[in-house]
């Protein structure tokens, strides 16, 4: 299994967590899992909405302390 790439998008307003995820998703290979760290409350809803619309896979989403840990697998 490939290593999980962690993207630290905590405490950032621009370009923001979802933009960061899209950036790194483009660099990833199909099958790779990316873990997005975000302190933006919106990410918990925004990220799954995009992942579903574009056709990648949600692996998990949990809040640890103030930080959302959102795991996504690149599917296409």
């Amino acid at each position: 299994m490939s290593e999980v790439k962690v993207i630290d998008a905590c405490n950032t307003f621009c370009p923001g967590p979802l933009m960061e995820l899209i950036t790194y998703m483009k660099q990833a290979q199909i099958g790779d899992t990316l873990e997005l760290l975000s302190t933006d409350q919106g990410s918990a809803a925004d990220v799954p909405e995009w992942v579903e619309k574009v056709g990648h896979q949600m692996v998990g989403s949990e809040k640890i302390g103030d930080v959302w840990h959102i795991k996504v697998r690149k599917a296409k």
Binding site: D8, A9, N11, T12, F13, C14, P15, G16, L18, M19, E20, I22, T23, K26, Q27, G42, D46, E49, W50, K53, V54, G55
Partner: protein, 377 residues
């Protein structure tokens, strides 16, 4: 101590000039040397390209000779770096010259990569280069009406540009008296119309007022140039008559070729602005991988921190400042109004309604930039 600055754009020029002033005594006595290597003998004020695309500025006014912007104590060479040998603390240039350093600053900027999307180069207008901005202006002038689509790649420098160009298009067509014959549709990659929530909240009612349509969660997959249709990764499409694009960016090829960072983005410490694994290598501006907007403004504030830290390392042996993520962006809201967004890692921007005086402030800043890169502002 040998300080080497690679890149003579916004970030590199501000750092070099700030260091030349802070270390003037050390430079005079030869305790310190300060060298800049760049890829061009000219310096372009890139934000001016937006005005070129609307016929409001002539391209020649955006340039100055790089040497004329630099303090006399800076040794300047137009000789781009080809090889970074970080472990040996040296770089090799295009002309095969070798430069050894004790402290390295990398500020090589970013480049758009429209060729990564099929059809985008042939099918769209973009104002992100001089030739592109002139071509876009000619296309706008010849446009008699129809559907204008705006598309945005990720990541790209100047995150405010998508909304600015949209406001400007509205005003441009209004001034020409053909706004009622033009449908403007804005496409944006995430689920609101701007990455900064407060900018999105401010811009949405403005778009509604201007009659600008928008589609969010639209990541461009390809442009069908023959049928003039854009397709998204999310499986939607739109037929256009004129396509305006802000293409996705990468760092410079030399960064990727030397394996300094994936896609040309160098892993950088958020606060110290050093390259991961190298305390004597500083990175700033577009080429960092920081979750900070790729703007001249970020490069400017980063440059001030790095210059203070390098100067203090020379003088007292340790850095003294940390970067807090500060960015200040003007937002042109059409041809005669503007507002601004100021934020850092912890505090989001608080958007004020656009007004005429901010627009004139921005117009003045377009000239003040040259004092700013000289390190005088």
């Amino acid at each position: 101590m040998r300080i080497l600055v690679v890149g003579g754009g916004t970030g590199g020029t501000i750092i070099a000039n700030n260091l030349a002033r802070r270390l003037s005594a050390e430079l005079r006595t030869g305790k310190v040397s300060l060298t800049m290597l760049s890829a061009s003998d000219r310096h372009m004020y890139q934000p001016g390209l937006l005005y070129v695309a609307f016929g409001q500025m002539m391209p020649d006014t955006l340039y100055r000779d790089q040497a004329s912007l630099l303090e006399a104590s800076i040794e300047f060479h137009v000789d781009p770096v080809k090889h970074f040998m970080l472990d040996e603390r040296r770089v090799k240039t295009q002309s095969d010259r070798v430069f050894d350093y004790d402290i390295l600053v990398i500020a090589t900027g970013s480049r758009m990569v429209p060729e990564e999307i099929p059809g985008l180069v042939e099918g769209s207008e973009t104002f992100y280069s001089e030739a592109g901005a002139i071509k876009m202006y000619k296309a706008l002038r010849n446009f008699k009406g129809g559907r204008v689509a705006i598309v945005v790649g990720v990541p790209h420098k100047c995150p405010i540009a998508p909304v600015e160009v949209t406001f400007s298009l509205h005003d441009y067509f209004k001034t020409r008296g053909i706004r009622d014959k033009v449908e403007i549709k804005y496409h944006y990659p995430i689920n609101r119309i701007h990455s900064i929530e407060n900018v999105a909240k401010w811009a949405k009612p403005e778009f509604d007022r201007m009659g600008v349509a928008y589609e969010t969660l639209f990541n461009l997959k390809e442009v069908d140039v023959q049928n003039k249709v854009i397709h998204s990764e999310e499986d939607t499409e739109y037929a256009y008559d004129l396509l305006i694009s802000i293409p996705a960016h990468r760092g410079m090829a030399v960064i990727e070729e030397n394996r300094l960072g994936q896609a040309g983005w160098i892993p950088t410490d958020r606060h110290q602005l050093t390259m991961e694994g190298y305390d004597n290598v500083y990175v700033l501006g577009d080429t960092t991988n920081l979750p900070v907007s790729k703007t001249g403004s970020a490069a400017h504030f980063e440059a001030e921190v790095i210059a203070d830290n390098i100067a203090s390392i020379v003088k007292i042996g340790t850095p003294v400042r940390e970067y807090d993520g500060k960015v200040y962006c003007f937002i042109e809201a059409g041809h005669d109004q503007a507002t601004y967004a100021m934020f850092n890692y912890l505090n989001p921007p608080d958007l004020k309604p656009a007004n005429k005086s901010m627009h004139w402030f921005k117009m003045s800043y377009n000239q003040m930039y040259w004092s700013s890169v000289r390190g005088l502002l």
